[in-house]
Each structure stands twice: as structure tokens, then as C-alpha cells.
């Protein structure tokens, strides 16, 4: 063609490069990300009496119930840690991952009204979810630290150690994993609505395959043949490492953490690619 020399800023075609992640576009819209996080936060506590207090209530009650049911009634080991601390550590970490996952998985259906009307890099919305949940996670971490302090005063035995420094990495891994899985599912739900039914109870089932209510050491002891099922679950080594850093008990190796990291990065990449592919045409199917 004669107008090869012409430069175009935007080209709209039926298909774009599979590995074009459009991260530059996302960067341009970073203010939108901040505003969406703010919107989520404000909208959450408006017209509630307890406001952000609700962030505490859920993990607190869950911990009490787990301590009673799994700790006392079923008498499942807590790796020798104070039971409430053991459960709260698991719940706090798991909640962040699960929230990211479930919320991200409905991105397309929940925001179709917005997506049908205006273009912006869709990736912004799942990212804003992950960041919004961070606020909630911070509040729950606060609860956890307060509990740790209370048990410390009571003289309970647990030993925070240098592995605490891995905490930022663990947080990043959880966010990436939740985001990646969530985006894969969200992309599929645009066509197959069935998955949205699966997700809520799927996450619950997955929790039982993760070391939230039991330690990995017990599984290794009792079910050595099935232990891989739990051990290769990427969330397991994250939670075990989390517990080890804060409480001094947990079963993980640097190798298992490295494998988890690799799996997480892979899932996130697949997630972004699938997501970017679906965002082009999902409006026609939702």
C-alpha cells in the first residue's frame, strides 16, 4: 500500500498479538486504579454503622468457630501453636487469596454495564480488586498482630524469626495467584456461566486442600500417599511459610517456595493472556 509511511496510534483489528499484555496502557490509566480502589472502599462502609469494623468481625468469628470445631471437637493438631493463633494465621492469608480470586472471577459479569460503554484497559479492574482487598487484608493483619501480642503477654510459646522478611513476597504471590486464577475463570464465565456457580464452593473445597485448618506436618504423618495433593497446592507453601515466619512452626523448603513462585507466575501470565483475549469480544456474549 502507498501509505506505509503513515503512522497510526491505534489499530483495531479482530485479533491482536497474543503476548501483547498492554501494560503501557495500564500504566497510563493508573489514576483510574487508585480511584476505583477508593470507590470500593467508600462504597463499602457508606451507610453502615460499624464501617471498617466489619473487616474484623468475619475473621474473628471464623477463628472462634474453627478453634472450637477443628481444634477442640475434632482435636486436629495445630503444630503445637496456640490454636486461635494457628487458625487466624491461616484464615488471614487464605481470605486474602480467596477474596482476590472470587471477586476477580466475576469481573466481566459484574462490570458489563461499564465495559459495554467505554474502553479502558480491562486489566485495571482486577488490579483494583487486588489492591482494594489489600486494605481489608491490612486490617486483618492488624488483628493478627494484636492477637500475637496478647498471647505473647500471656507467655504462650511461638517464635517469630527472620523468615518474616519473606512476608512481602508471600503477599505478592497470593495476590498474583488469586488474580491469575480469577482472570482465567472470569474469562471462561463470559461464555460458560456454570463456572460462577462452581467458584464459591470450589474455593471452599480448595481451602480443605490447603493447610488452613491443619498443618502440613500432620498430613505427611497420617496420609503419606496423598500428601502431594496438599503439598503441590501453591497456597500451601505460602501459608506454611507465613506461619513459620510469624509463629515459628511450619513445613516448607526454599525449593517448594520456588516451585510455588514458578507456578504462580505461569498462572498469572496465562490469566493475563486469556483475559486480554476475551476482553475484545465479551460484550457480545455476556
Amino acid at each position: 500500500m502507498h501509505n506505509l509511511a503513515e503512522e497510526w496510534d491505534i489499530e483495531i483489528t479482530s485479533r491482536n498479538n497474543l503476548f501483547d499484555l498492554k501494560l503501557k496502557d495500564v500504566w497510563h490509566y493508573r489514576d483510574l486504579l487508585a480511584l476505583l480502589v477508593r470507590r470500593d472502599f467508600v462504597a463499602f462502609y457508606k451507610q453502615t454503622i460499624l464501617g471498617p469494623l466489619w473487616f474484623f468481625i468475619q475473621p474473628l468469628f471464623t477463628t472462634i468457630i474453627y478453634t472450637f470445631v477443628f481444634g477442640n471437637l475434632a482435636n486436629i493438631s495445630a503444630d503445637g501453636l496456640p490454636k486461635p493463633l494457628f487458625y487466624l494465621a491461616g484464615i488471614t492469608a487464605w481470605n486474602y487469596f480467596a477474596d482476590c480470586l472470587t471477586k476477580t472471577s466475576t469481573v466481566f459479569t459484574a462490570n458489563s454495564g461499564l465495559f459495554e460503554k467505554v474502553y479502558f484497559p480491562r486489566l485495571i479492574v482486577p488490579l483494583s480488586i487486588v489492591v482494594s482487598n489489600l486494605i481489608r487484608f491490612a486490617v486483618q493483619m492488624l488483628l493478627f498482630v494484636v492477637m500475637m501480642f496478647a498471647y505473647y503477654l500471656k507467655g504462650a510459646s511461638f517464635h517469630p524469626n527472620a523468615y518474616l522478611l519473606l512476608f512481602p513476597l508471600l503477599l505478592l504471590l497470593m495476590a498474583m495467584l488469586g488474580l491469575g486464577l480469577g482472570m482465567i475463570i472470569s474469562a471462561l464465565t463470559t461464555k460458560y456461566r456454570d463456572l460462577s456457580f462452581l467458584i464459591t464452593f470450589g474455593v471452599q473445597l480448595m481451602m480443605y486442600l490447603t493447610t488452613v485448618i491443619y498443618p502440613l506436618s500432620t498430613v505427611k504423618q497420617k496420609y503419606p500417599t496423598y500428601e502431594w495433593l496438599v503439598e503441590y497446592n501453591p497456597m500451601t507453601s505460602i501459608i506454611e511459610c507465613f506461619r513459620y515466619g510469624f509463629l515459628g512452626q511450619g513445613t516448607f523448603t526454599m525449593v517448594s517456595l520456588a516451585i510455588t513462585t514458578a507456578i504462580t507466575v505461569l498462572i498469572l501470565l496465562i490469566g493475563i493472556i486469556v483475559f486480554n483475549r476475551v476482553e475484545k469480544n465479551f460484550v457480545d456474549t455476556v
Binding site: D9, A43, V118
Partner: protein, 416 residues
């Protein structure tokens, strides 16, 4: 002149009917076909999108092989019937959905307003929503901050700016939303019929603002509307879409003429009855050049041609035409003694002219009757034909929705 938008061979296919049931099997079939290097078995290109005809395949082309270019600073009106593909085109241009084949190339930033107030959250205040909405439309925070005062000023909701928008009246909501969009700094602006909301004063303000954008600031505007008056006022180019293809493209007044002609195709525009005893035989509506039509622009004469047959004794009767509007209100009647217009029994043809610039834009029906006043009704044919007066740039256009009456009277105003 430089091109800012270039559309090449653009098509968009939609699947009709239920989406979801049986998709896995179809997806697998599609995947298998692609693996063997064959075409998508469910995508039969070539079926024209006409919503009135039921097609064989469940895939329709909402847009079919569209090609056009838009130059910098043009204001382009996109006109078409419902289902002509206007919205699909806008959606593709604003990157909400991707085309099935073909490409669009764009130079510069593009902002689209397919709806006002996209992303407004009811719990947030007007101020917070300005920032959120602005960011969704692609503005940076600093940019919005810089223009904040102007936006509030333009919207005229100063007093409520710190109130959650759920407490706003719908008019205020729209004002605020349009104000944000009006201050977008994009080289290309796409506007769907958002002006159909808001009161007349605000509509005028919006139209004025859009005029500024295209004429004053040299930006490119794409405008979709049914309001021909607004299109005529704002746009210098018009693209007419029909059944997913471009019917015509050129300057606005030619475009509007083409559109009114297009509207007439496929509509019943004649009445005939050949029963021996009937007086009224044939009725047609045509323009000054004798073309059968049902859609007339405001500045065109409407000629109703009537073929009738009368007997000797009917010469004493009176014959009348009655024009009713959509609400069955009688707008006016025109009556003649039969004996005054025909001298002897037999078949004759009359042309009744409704003068131009008289009926205001709207939909009208025609009824004919013949009677001997106070004695007997000989024949009445109700609702024989319909015709439409289209808005093509009258003084009414800025007030769509307001009731301006059915008849436009150019009264004489004298200053004493």
C-alpha cells in the same frame, strides 16, 4: 488534509438466538475446523442483516464490509434506521468490541460517549464522581483537577457538588455527566444520542459545546442521532448506514435527502380498492416531482393524489380529507363540493397539496370521506395512508421532546 480515522473492510458478525446452550460442542467443532485449517463452520459470511426477514443461518452481519475515511476537523453524522449498524460501528470505533474482520486505524486520542455518566457510583459525591468518570474516560487526575472548576461551572450543579449523586435529580445527573465529557481533551470524540436527555436549555448548551469542539477547536467529532436537525446543524459530513452497509456518504444535506428517500423503500405508500360500488379508488402520496414517498422533510410539499369515481347524484355531495396525528387528534380538514371540482360523473383524479412548512415534524394519517352534509355519509376510508414529516433543520430541532404543537404558523409580527 490528514486522515484521522481509516476504516477498511470492516465487518461484524453476531450470533442470533441463545448463546450458551451447546456452546462447548460448537466450540469444539470450531476448534477442530481451525486445526484442520478450515473456516469457522458457523460463520457464514454473506447474510444481510434485515431484522424483518427471518434468515436461515443464525449468524448475521451487523456490519458488512464498511470502508470510509474521516479527516481531521470533520464533524460526521452517522444516520440510519434502528438496526442499521450504527451502534455496532460506534462500539467498534470506541473499542468496546472488536470487529470480526477488517480494521480501523486511528490517529490521536479517542474518547467515546456512548452513554453519559458511565461508571457513576450512586454513593459517591458529585466531586468524587467527576474524578472517577473522568478517569474512566481516560483523563489523568491532574488534568481533571485543572478543569474541575470549569466542569462544575458548565454543569450548573455547584450547590450539590458534595452530595452523593443518588440524591440528584435525573436532570442534574445528566448535566454533571455531560460536563465531564465535554472537557475531555481528545482529538476524536464519538457521541451517541446522549442529547436525548436533559431539558431543552441544557440540550442547547450541549449542542453549542459540541459545535465549539468541532468548529472552534478543530477536533473530529462523530455524532449519531435521529435528530436530523442537530445533525444538519453540527455536521458537515454524513454517513448513511442501511442494513450494515454504507448507503451514502457525503455532505450533510445530500445525506439527509438520501436518508428520507431510503426511509420510503419498502413502505406501503398506496391504497387501492377496485370494488365497483366504491367511490375512492386509489390514494397515493407523492412529492412535487411525482415520486411516491411516505417521508417528507419539513420544507417539502405533501401531495395526496386521489383517484375517485362519482355518479350523477354524488355531484351534490362534499368530499373531504382529514389529517390526524399519532394520537388520533384531528389536525385539520379540507373539504370541497364534488360538483365544484368535477363537472360530470365518472372517474377523476385530484391532487391535494398540503403546503410545506406547515405540519410540524411527526407522524400523520390520512382519512377520506364523502357525504351529503346532515343527510348521509356516502363513504369513509379511515387511516388509508400514513406519512411522516421529518425534522430536517427546523426551528424545532433543539427542543426535541417539547410539544411545539402540530402546525407551524409563520405569523406576522409587527412592531408598533
Amino acid at each position: 488534509m490528514t486522515k484521522v480515522i481509516q476504516v477498511e473492510n470492516l465487518s461484524k458478525a453476531y450470533r442470533l438466538g441463545e448463546i450458551g446452550t451447546g456452546t462447548i460442542s460448537k466450540d469444539l467443532e470450531r476448534f477442530w475446523a481451525r486445526m484442520r485449517g478450515k473456516e469457522d463452520p458457523f460463520l457464514k459470511i454473506g447474510e444481510v442483516n434485515d431484522r424483518t426477514i427471518k434468515g436461515g443461518s443464525d449468524v448475521v452481519l451487523s456490519l458488512k464490509d464498511i470502508n470510509f475515511e474521516i479527516e481531521k476537523g470533520d464533524a460526521v453524522g452517522i444516520i440510519g434506521r434502528n438496526g442499521a449498524g450504527k451502534s455496532t460501528l460506534l462500539k467498534i470505533l470506541s473499542r468496546v468490541t472488536a470487529p470480526t474482520t477488517g480494521s480501523v486505524k486511528i490517529k490521536g486520542r479517542i474518547a467515546s460517549l456512548l452513554e453519559v455518566g458511565t461508571g457513576f457510583h450512586p454513593e459517591l459525591t458529585g466531586k468524587e464522581n467527576i474524578f472517577l468518570n473522568g478517569a474512566i474516560l481516560g483523563m489523568r487526575k491532574a488534568e481533571i483537577k485543572r478543569k474541575f472548576d470549569e466542569i462544575v461551572d458548565f454543569s450548573g450543579v455547584d450547590r450539590y457538588i458534595d452530595t452523593p449523586v443518588k440524591r440528584y435529580s435525573s436532570g442534574m445527573y445528566v448535566r454533571l455527566a455531560f460536563a465531564v465529557a465535554a472537557y475531555l481533551e481528545s482529538e476524536i470524540l464519538i457521541v451517541d444520542e446522549v442529547l436525548a436527555v436533559g431539558d431543552a436549555e441544557f440540550q442547547k448548551k450541549c449542542l453549542g459545546k459540541m459545535g465549539d469542539i468541532s468548529q472552534g477547536q478543530g477536533r473530529t467529532v462523530l455524532f449519531v442521532s435521529h435528530n436530523m436537525g442537530a445533525i444538519k446543524k453540527l455536521c458537515n459530513q454524513a454517513i448513511i448506514l442501511d442494513k450494515g452497509s454504507i448507503y451514502s456518504k457525503g455532505n450533510t444535506s445530500d445525506g439527509i435527502t438520501a436518508y428520507t428517500q431510503l426511509q420510503n423503500i419498502n413502505k406501503a405508500i398506496n391504497y387501492s380498492n377496485n370494488d365497483p360500488g366504491k367511490k375512492f379508488r386509489e390514494v397515493t402520496i407523492e412529492d412535487n416531482k411525482g415520486r411516491l414517498k411516505s417521508d417528507f422533510s419539513f420544507d417539502e410539499n405533501v401531495n395526496v393524489r386521489l383517484k375517485f369515481e362519482v355518479g350523477q347524484r354524488d355531484l351534490n355531495a362534499a368530499m373531504g380529507i382529514k389529517i390526524l396525528d399519532d394520537l388520533e387528534r384531528c389536525i385539520f380538514t379540507s373539504e370541497k363540493k364534488v360538483g365544484e371540482i368535477v363537472k360530470h360523473a365518472g372517474e377523476s383524479t385530484a391532487v391535494i397539496t398540503i403546503p410545506r412548512e406547515m405540519l410540524s415534524p411527526g407522524h400523520y394519517r390520512v382519512t377520506f370521506g364523502m357525504h351529503v352534509p346532515n343527510v348521509e355519509i356516502i363513504e369513509v376510508i379511515t387511516d388509508v395512508l400514513h406519512f411522516e414529516i421529518l425534522e430536517t433543520g427546523t426551528d424545532f430541532y433543539q427542543f426535541s421532546g417539547a410539544d411545539m404543537g402540530c402546525v407551524f404558523v409563520n405569523c406576522d409580527w409587527k412592531i408598533l
